[in-house]
């Protein structure tokens, strides 16, 4: 039977058997199918029904991103006719910033290769060559890292091609090289962590590390800027290197990624070849070791032993709500995902904290920075925490069958969210109060509003889920994600305007924040 004369079903069957079982192509087809379905899941928010409306909305959104990038680059980014060290430096630092985000994602993806148990036990129990499967999975993780970063960078690259010529399309090659090198570095870091800290702890440490790397560069640039110039502008690091005399010469190899992105063929070939070669070599060296670690993870007892002294406290008499609060706070404390997310929020509080420290004794400018940053951080943190307590309940039937009024259980969970938000925010707020007491008090009110707003949105969109599905919470409901994010922005804006005395203008961001909660209420799932 030829493929041309076959029916669609038969053609599908032929395609399925195109690769010999256990061959590289066969595994690659399987992995590509899984990765594609995961990508579709993320893009569709987990909905199974495909609709033209959703596709059109996605295209419109992509179009808007392109328009925004084109507008910003056209107005604010003059492209020199010949590359200068300064231009290459700006391009390199911007690229490095994007690469750190890729590295954070790659680190998480690479460690998932041995911790995602979905089908690993099946594959390990089969006669399939483990090293080949894991090697392929690491390679797929590099591709997926590239794709995810591409979602953010495609509009920028396309806009550069529109504004300054099609030579910028070669930046796609650099994007792939970035994904490959991020995966290579992640392989090295993961192996080092596995060797130093063991298979049980590496996952948590890698998650925390990914959070630090993801936020680290941006925050580092701000910290350098604040300490040197007293400004928290994100581009301050560029200003430090403004003097072109300090920069390497135009012919230096350090500029090759930037020159490759701007359309020079030789640097592009070199950058892509080197990054691919490094990735293939890293996979070749590490795949077998990853296989051994995956096996060790299966064998290792997973339950961490908890300090026995705690047993005195757990039987302490308290109200039912008290028991629920203690349970929620204990679970939050032991959640590695939450740990990394909280750490990220706390890291973002470092620049304003430094600003506070460098401006001790003066309230000028401090309130304007601290009020919105603290409010925004609290709102974002509360959203994650509220999802964990309201939706991520691992024993919903236990709570539902307990002799506790549903209102009591809900109140205890919300209280746990407020307590957990208060812990990282309070020290900064106290420091703020020393500099500007009234502004600190105002900020406290907006922190409470942002925390409450995010919690209400999560309450409206609560859906029973396992806590381990935390990373998918943002794909579960796009409406909840966007209303939560824009709500936090609204409260932060209102906080900034209030502390600067622009009370009349405060109504606009407050209306946005309240409107987000209202929109969430109108669009909440029914039934």
């Amino acid at each position: 039977m030829t493929e041309l004369s076959a029916s669609p079903m038969e053609r599908k069957e032929v395609r399925r058997h195109r690769f010999k079982p256990l061959s590289f192509g066969w595994f690659a087809a399987h992995e590509a199918r899984l990765a594609w379905r995961e990508f579709l899941f993320i893009m569709s928010g987990g909905r199974k029904d495909a609709s033209w409306g959703r596709t059109i909305w996605a295209l419109v959104f992509l179009g808007l991103l392109h328009w925004g990038a084109w507008y910003v680059l056209g107005v604010y980014a003059p492209f020199p006719s010949e590359p200068t060290p300064h231009f290459l430096m700006v391009l390199s630092v911007s690229g490095f910033f994007a690469w750190t985000l890729m590295l954070a994602q790659a680190l998480e993806q690479v460690t998932r290769v041995i911790y995602a148990r979905a089908d690993l036990d099946l594959i390990m129990s089969s006669p399939a060559p483990m090293a080949r499967v894991l090697g392929l999975r690491i390679f797929i993780s590099a591709i997926s890292t590239t794709l995810m970063a591409g979602m953010l960078l495609i509009p920028v690259i396309d806009a550069m091609a529109i504004v300054d010529g099609p030579r910028w399309l070669m930046a796609y090659g650099v994007l792939f090289a970035g994904g490959a090198t991020a995966a290579t570095v992640s392989i090295g870091v993961s192996l080092m962590l596995l060797k130093l800290t063991g298979v049980k702890r590496t996952r948590t440490i890698a998650q925390v590390l990914a959070a630090i790397i993801g936020a680290g560069f941006t925050i580092g640039a701000q910290v350098v800027g604040i300490l040197s110039m007293g400004s928290s502008q994100r581009m301050a690091v560029f200003d430090l290197l403004e003097d072109e005399g300090r920069l390497p010469a135009l012919g230096s190899l350090i500029w090759w990624p930037a020159r490759a992105a701007s359309g020079e063929l030789l640097p592009l070939i070199a950058v892509m070849s080197l990054s691919l070669a490094l990735l293939v070599a890293a996979i070749g060296v590490s795949a077998r070791r990853f296989g051994a670690y995956a096996g060790a993870f299966t064998d290792a007892p997973q339950g961490q032993v908890v300090n026995r002294r705690r047993t005195i406290a757990i039987f302490k008499p308290r109200s039912v709500a008290g028991h629920l609060r203690v349970k929620e706070l204990t679970l939050l404390k032991r959640d590695p995902w939450l740990l990394s997310q909280t750490l990220m929020q706390i890291l973002y509080l470092i620049p304003p904290a430094l600003l506070l420290w460098t401006n001790t004794g003066t309230s000028t400018g401090v309130a304007l920075v601290l009020a919105p940053v603290l409010t925004m951080a609290a709102g974002q943190l509360a959203g994650g925490l509220a999802w964990l307590t309201l939706s991520g309940e691992d024993a919903p039937e236990l709570i539902a069958t307990a002799p506790v009024a549903s209102g009591t259980a809900l109140r205890a969970k919300v209280e746990a969210v407020f307590i957990a938000v208060a812990l990282p925010v309070t020290p900064l707020l106290l420091g703020f109060a020393l500099v500007a007491p009234l502004s600190a008090l105002t900020t406290l009110v907006f922190i409470a509003l942002a925390t409450g707003g995010a919690t209400v949105i999560q309450f409206l969109f609560r859906k029973s889920a396992k806590r381990s599905h935390f990373r998918r919470r943002q794909t579960a409901s796009r409406i909840a994600t966007f209303t939560e994010a824009f709500g936090s922005i609204g409260w932060a804006g209102a906080a900034a305007l209030t502390v600067t005395g622009s009370l009349l203008w405060t109504a606009i961001p407050m209306a946005l924040a309240v409107g987000c909660v209202g929109l969430a209420f109108l669009l909440r799932p029914r039934g």
């Binding site: 039987f315 204990t330 024993a395 069958t401 307990a402 002799p403």
Partner: protein
């Protein structure tokens, strides 16, 4: 005055998308009884028990737990009940002792009494060595034992278990059965669904067979055997005959 039933269900009905899962079910379980609820897949067993525990709201009917109207006063009814589903509902990041302490707190058992009871139960099910270890590292059997400890820590008068022996090894299964027998001997009432008919045959005081959301037969094993007209038959043969009869009637 007639003795209060441990569980009394009258004309209970529940539909999903217009398709009846439970249709006018009447069921009475006596105090201190070990009651086995049997039925084929989709017969309505779990739906019935979830309505009793307050997890599902019935479309119509009445449920009374030790004389407490479970639909009008669910909190009072829940104080008397323990629910053990087929998949243990425990927290991965808590230790067995912390989990049992938390459940004790939910049911208002506190302080020294809770600690004594929790420790005793954990020792009883053989989890002493794991009591300070997070539950994420425990096997399915161990997790089921932790869930059972949580269910028993507040000394419930009515213990409802949905397929509690699924996936347990022989010794764990034996242990769970012994614990349940001891509770019945101490005056508690146990209602258990199971597909392991041998367990129902050996342990249950009375057996109810449910199919198509209705109670098709009820009685002791001997009464069911007599009804089926096979004096020397096993429960499996009796059960299959009752279920086959219900399918013909439907």
């Amino acid at each position: 005055m007639a003795a209060v039933s441990a569980l009394e269900i009258h004309a209970l009905a529940k539909s999903y998308d217009g398709k009846p899962a439970v249709s006018g079910l009447d069921l009475t379980v006596r105090p201190g009884e070990f009651y086995a609820l049997l039925g084929p897949n989709g017969a309505g067993k779990t739906t019935t028990l979830r309505m009793v525990t307050g997890l599902l709201k019935p479309d119509s009917g009445a449920i009374s737990v030790w004389g407490v109207d479970a639909l009008n006063d669910p909190i009072a009814a829940k104080r008397l009940i323990a629910w053990v589903p087929d998949e243990p509902m425990i927290y991965d990041k808590l230790t067995p002792l912390e989990y049992v302490a938390f459940v004790a707190g939910l049911w208002g058992v506190e302080g020294a009494e809770a600690e004594r009871e929790a420790e005793a139960l954990i020792d009883l099910v053989g989890l002493t060595a794991q009591k300070h270890q997070r539950c994420e590292g425990l096997s399915k059997g161990m997790r089921q034992k932790v869930a059972l400890c949580g269910a028993l820590v507040h000394a419930p008068k009515l213990i409802i278990l949905d397929e509690p022996l699924t996936g347990l090894d022989a010794s764990s299964s034996r242990l769970v059965k012994d614990v349940l027998k001891a509770r019945v001997a101490a005056g508690a009432t146990v209602i258990m669904t199971t597909h392991i008919l041998e367990v129902a045959e050996r342990m249950a005081d009375r057996i109810g067979v449910i199919a198509g959301g209705r109670l098709m037969a009820e009685g002791t094993f001997d009464e069911l055997r007599e009804r089926a007209g096979h004096a020397g038959s096993t429960l499996e043969e009796v059960f299959l005959e009752i279920v086959a009869g219900s399918e013909v009637a439907a």
